[in-house]
């Protein structure tokens, strides 16, 4: 159980990372959001069972990971959290699609290719989304959404949900800790106690959320979230956006992996 409790400290890692001051962090939030949207859109536009053409798209998250000085392992852990979901979405393909595809000497079923394709696409999309939050921060992301004319209420909803979720998790971790101290040598919460445990958790989280809301309104909060100065979009930001979009589109049209392979083996397609 100490594992969960340790994570209490890491829960807000993304917030911490978002405060770094690297080149990537200094890119305008709106630009980063748009770049991510283009990235995900291009990924989604690929053929159902395309695999090799997806490889160049690994470059973008790797680029961000290295230039924004983001530690790889915690990010991967967070991606792993959603992996079961992704597998759940894709796993039926190999069962129903037995059509055989031949690559030179290798024979595979198209179902597996589709599964692999879905798996890669979803993992990449999740990774870049997490990286977007880790390099921008939820506050500034909400500002970017407002700039896209997303209604205030949605941006606010997102922001408060994000804040409250951590509170809820922290509150439950604290309860789990208190419980485990009084139930040593026991794994998890006993089923008999689960009802009152969950009920308490909900009530507490609700109470806490309410007090925080009160604290916010006491300091003049009326629904418009102000996260301070928003920088202007600079020329540099445009270049960043244009360069990446160009790269994504070229990688969509030409299969770069195959092109490079051809370059080395001297065999055209």
């Amino acid at each position: 159980m100490s594992n969960i409790i340790n994570s209490l400290y890491n829960i807000r890692l993304l917030d911490d990372l978002a405060r770094k001051k690297t080149f990537i962090h200094s890119i305008h939030p709106l630009i980063k959001l748009l770049t991510t949207i283009v990235y995900v859109a291009v990924l989604a536009s690929f053929e159902r069972h395309e695999v090799s053409a997806l490889l160049p798209f690994v470059f973008y998250p790797v680029f961000i990971l290295s230039f924004a000085e983001i530690p790889v392992v915690p990010i991967l852990k967070r991606v792993l959290l959603v992996e079961p979901l992704i597998i759940g979405i894709g796993i039926l393909n190999p069962l129903f699609d037995n059509y055989i595809v031949v690559f030179g000497d290798i024979v595979v079923s198209r179902g597996w290719l589709t599964f692999l394709s879905i798996f890669i696409k979803c993992s990449l999309a999740v990774t870049v989304s997490i990286l977007l939050v880790a390099t921008t921060g939820m506050d500034r992301l909400a500002i970017a959404l407002r700039m896209l004319k997303i209604p205030r209420i949605f941006a606010l909803q997102l922001l408060l949900t994000y804040r409250y979720i951590w509170l809820l998790i922290e509150e439950s971790l604290r309860m789990v800790r208190a419980y485990s101290l009084r139930a040593p040598g026991q794994k998890g919460v006993k089923i008999n106690d689960l009802g009152s445990f969950l009920g308490q958790m909900l009530l507490r989280a609700f109470d806490r959320a309410q007090r925080i809301y009160q604290a916010m309104s006491l300091r003049g909060f009326t629904g418009e979230y102000n996260a301070g100065d928003v920088p202007k979009i600079k020329f540099r930001d445009f270049v960043y956006f244009a360069a990446w979009s160009l790269f994504f589109i070229i990688a969509r049209i030409y299969n770069i992996a195959v092109l490079i392979g051809a370059l080395f083996t001297g065999v055209g397609r």
Binding site: D16, R19, G137, D139, R211, I212, Q214, A215, A227
Partner: protein, 270 residues
């Protein structure tokens, strides 16, 4: 200055479950006064403060700030003038950095970012934590959180500072720091606490609550010396006023109390 006046007129409040937490409470607090609100657990201190802040509304009676009656309509204007520090700083700090938390209030009042910066930095300076500005609030120690919470209210430059248990759960050093901080504020302030020694040092006037009613209202030394009164309200004479732990005679430093100096001065130590 009458507009810094805070007045409660026969306030009553019952919680939805029917528990009457505040009964017939009236008082007036004038500009520059420092008032300690004391009472046992469950006496209704927090409830009363919430009534003053307009978080709760009284079932009977009214609250006046300056000459304005506190209603839903006047709430925004009034809240700008009252600064409330929560009992638990975790409820108050929710942004990603201390600076953002301190700047939260001023930003909501639509000040431009330069002015926000000036105010936030001044508030951080006042409580002595400029070095914590870029830290995440949830990673601070209890004492640091407390002063950060105080700074987040000071940045709004309120006329009246209202605090719920500012020294609870603090170690002696952090407690001392908060006390010194409070002593140096020229604000009108209301401090709810069981820490009677702290009240003795920081407040000139004391209101005693007992089961939701005012049991006494007067000068700090008079009330905190009144053993009978305090005990009937579930409280004790402050430690610094109790008998000398060395020789057992009553400490002879009443004259010191008046000068807000509580250094230990029993004759047996001479």
């Amino acid at each position: 200055m009458s507009h810094h006046k805070l007045e409660a007129r026969s306030l009553y409040f019952s919680y939805p479950d029917g528990h009457e937490a505040v009964k017939n409470v009236s008082f007036t607090i004038y500009h520059g006064e420092s008032v300690g609100l004391i009472g046992a657990n469950g006496a209704g201190k927090s409830t009363l403060l919430m009534l003053l802040m307009g978080i709760l509304f009284p079932s009977r009676g009214e609250v006046l700030v300056g000459d304005v009656r506190l209603t839903k309509k006047t709430l925004p204007a009034i809240r700008q003038r009252l600064g409330f520090v929560f009992q638990n700083p975790d409820d108050q700090l929710f942004m990603t950095t201390v600076y953002d938390d301190v700047a939260f209030g001023p930003r909501n009042y639509g000040l431009d970012e330069d002015e926000v910066k000036i105010r936030a930095e001044k508030a951080l300076e006042m409580v002595g934590i400029p070095h914590l500005r870029d830290r995440a609030p949830f990673k601070l120690s209890g004492g640091e959180k407390r002063v950060a919470a105080i700074a987040s209210v000071l940045s709004m430059q309120p006329d009246i500072l209202i605090m719920d248990e500012p020294t609870s759960a603090l170690d002696p050093k952090s407690r001392r720091r908060v006390i010194n901080l409070l002593k140096n504020f020229e604000h009108t302030k209301i401090i709810a606490s069981h820490d009677l020694d702290m009240v003795l040092e920081t407040c000139r006037r004391v209101i005693v609550l007992n089961e939701g009613e005012i049991a006494a209202d007067g000068i700090t030394e008079e009330i905190l010396f009144n053993k009978e009164l305090l005990e009937s309200c579930g409280l004790e004479i402050p430690l610094s006023l109790q008998n000398c732990p060395v020789c057992g005679t009553f400490k002879s430093h009443i004259s010191h109390v008046k000068k807000w100096d509580l250094s230990f001065s029993c004759k047996c130590q001479d």
